[in-house]
């Protein structure tokens, strides 16, 4: 990592403090705008943890979001538990579910994994619809009557800070390096002695935990959930869209992608409510055609951002101090 990017990343805590103080100055839609931004960015970071770093593209991450929402819906909405207890429990339950699910699903590769995860999301939505003794089925659940924007705002801010911290660690750790080797070529990773199964499942579980928490917070924020709204495929698609827009498998990509996405979606939603879904499809096409590797990649290519994986530069630094063999000139004075 160079000085320049260090300075840039140094701005993040400052932005964090500003975000923490924002509810003192902002209210109403302005605060909700940032709340939604944290929600989007947090989901993008979550998806990035498994799909960005390992290349296993999941179309089913909404399943974790929806399960999290339903845990809070059932515990807080029906049984009147405090949401501050229900939300962490939502995360814990999703984490527990994700381990065997990952073990099962990550045997599939490429498009099969993507489709398989889509099926998982559909299946969880069906369970939520049909198991009406637990979920009240299609009737949905009224979660809360108190509209607690500030509480949810802080909840999402904390989750976002944690998922960003985890991503930063992954991006600079041996674990992240192993995930990256899986994305680049899984059989080569295996040939080097990477325990690909364990690492994939771990990334999968980390990547499931946060949508569970965010889904729980969302249920508390939105006040009413039903299977169609919290298991909507759009959540999955948007996670993918934001991450690709920013740059998959990078630390800053989901942040940039998520912020850009929130601005675009919210402004379209306000001005052209009937077209804003179509614009999502249009955005996918534009991204895939013009910036397939995301905004981060464009910035790097233009030299505006220089971020190197610290973990991958041990050798590079040691070698850069010694000249290349070919360039060696015998010194004789």
């Amino acid at each position: 990592m160079t000085m320049r990017s260090k300075l840039r990343l140094g701005a993040l805590p400052v932005i964090g403090v500003a975000a923490a103080l924002a509810p003192l100055f902002l209210a109403g839609y302005r605060l909700v705008f940032f709340l939604l931004m944290f929600l989007h960015v947090g989901l993008a970071y979550s998806w990035n943890l498994v799909s960005g770093f390992t290349g296993y593209i999941s179309f089913g991450h909404v399943a974790f979001f929806g399960i999290g929402a339903y845990v809070v819906g059932i515990l807080s909405g029906i049984h009147h538990w405090n949401w501050l207890i229900a939300v962490p429990l939502a995360g814990a339950l999703v984490l527990v579910i994700s381990l065997p699910l990952g073990w099962l699903m990550l045997r599939l590769k490429g498009p099969y994994f993507a489709i398989g995860m889509l099926a998982v999301a559909q299946a969880t939505a069906l369970v939520a619809s049909l198991w009406d003794g637990l979920t009240r089925g299609g009737l949905g659940i009224f979660v809360s009557s108190s509209y607690n924007v500030v509480g949810v705002y802080y909840g999402l801010l904390i989750v976002l800070a944690v998922v960003m911290g985890v991503t930063y660690w992954v991006d600079n750790s041996r674990f992240g390096l192993r995930l990256l080797s899986i994305r680049e070529d899984e059989s080569a990773a295996e040939a080097m002695g990477v325990d690909t199964t364990r690492d994939k499942i771990l990334a999968f579980a980390l990547s499931a935990l946060f949508p569970g928490l965010i889904g729980g917070l969302y249920a508390w924020y939105i006040g009413y959930i039903d299977p169609r709204s919290v298991f909507s495929l759009f959540f999955s698609v948007n996670m993918i869209l934001m991450t690709l827009l920013g740059g998959a498998g990078t630390f800053l990509g989901p942040l940039i992608g998520g912020i850009a996405f929130t601005f675009v979606v919210e402004s379209l939603w306000v001005r052209f409510p009937e077209y804003h879904l179509m614009s999502t499809g249009l955005a996918v096409i534009v991204i895939v055609m013009f910036i397939p590797n995301g905004i981060i990649d464009v910035l790097k290519k233009r030299g505006w951002l220089t971020h190197r994986r610290r973990i991958l530069t041990r050798l590079i630094r040691s070698v850069e101090t010694t000249p290349q063999k070919k360039a060696e000139v015998p010194e004789r004075v």
């Binding site: 041996r174 390096l177 192993r178 080797s181 680049e184 070529d185 059989s187 080569a188 295996e190 040939a191 080097m192 002695g193 990477v194 325990d195 690909t196 991958l312 041990r314 050798l315 590079i316 040691s318 070698v319 290349q324 063999k325 070919k326």
Partner: protein, 253 residues
């Protein structure tokens, strides 16, 4: 040269002193399809052993059995006298076996140095890591010249050298190579095989699966010929090169 049954009896009496790797009458396959039928092989310390045979003879499958990528349905695999048949691939590789898979698989979007760094990811001691790097550069100087080049933009031969170099970065005593000359220009086949011989001089034990039978036998201390998933011939490289049947069947003369 001995027939297979004689060899098997001999193996049983020889003991395991100096034997690094032993495959003992292994049956294996993919799902319902059985590929190997009671295949046996032995590799002594510092030896370069070639496994040759026609397409579909099960050469690569033998390597995959050793690495635990495929679990044998019968028989066992011993590494330094320890039964590793049931071990997970990453454990087997961590115990000191390097693997260069078929098709010169490198990480295309990473530089040469980054690829090598990945190969040494298990090495925590930086001095050892840079030592291994120097050995790799010494073996294949072209990798030194192209440190910063993206691996995907290099020629097939250079990628193969990189794949071998990456396997060396963890400092294994034993390396398994699957068809290192596959699809390479003759000039690069020479460079790669020369590199293997130099690795042998440094004391690295090697198992090389090859389609290029003549070249494989020329450089091998010993070799096994597989056919339809069974041991067909075995002996020193020279014996097999001069054997009438082997010449007729596999060397086109």
């Amino acid at each position: 040269m001995k027939s297979t049954s004689e060899e098997q009896r001999a193996t049983q009496t020889r003991g395991t002193d100096g034997t690094v790797l032993e495959v003992e009458s292994v049956d294996a396959g993919y799902g319902e399809m059985k590929i190997l039928h009671a295949v046996s092989a032995r590799v002594d310390r510092g030896e370069l052993v070639s496994i040759i045979g026609p397409n579909g003879a099960g050469k690569s499958t033998v390597l995959k059995c050793i690495l635990g990528l495929i679990k044998p349905t019968k028989g066992r695999v011993l590494f330094k006298g320890e039964n590793i048949t049931a071990n997970a691939p990453h454990k087997i590789i961590a115990s000191g076996i390097g693997y260069v898979p078929q098709g010169r698989i490198v990480f295309p979007d990473m530089s040469v140095l980054e690829n090598l760094e990945m190969g040494g990811f298990t090495v925590r001691d930086k001095a050892r890591l840079t030592g291994n790097l120097e050995r790799v550069f010494d073996l294949f100087p072209v990798l030194d010249e192209r440190r910063k080049q993206m691996a995907g933009t290099m020629s097939g031969g250079q990628q193969q050298m990189l794949a071998i170099g990456r396997a060396l970065m963890s400092g294994p005593e034993t390396i398994l190579l699957d068809e290192p000359s596959l699809g390479l220009a003759p000039r690069f086949v020479d460079i790669v095989f020369e590199g293997l011989l130099r690795m042998g001089q440094e004391g690295i034990t090697m198992v090389v699966v090859e389609q290029n039978a003549a070249r494989a036998l020329e450089m091998a201390d010993r070799a096994y010929v597989l056919e339809f998933g069974r041991n067909r011939f075995e002996g020193t490289g020279e014996e097999l090169l001069n054997d009438e049947r082997v010449r007729r069947l596999y060397l086109g003369g």
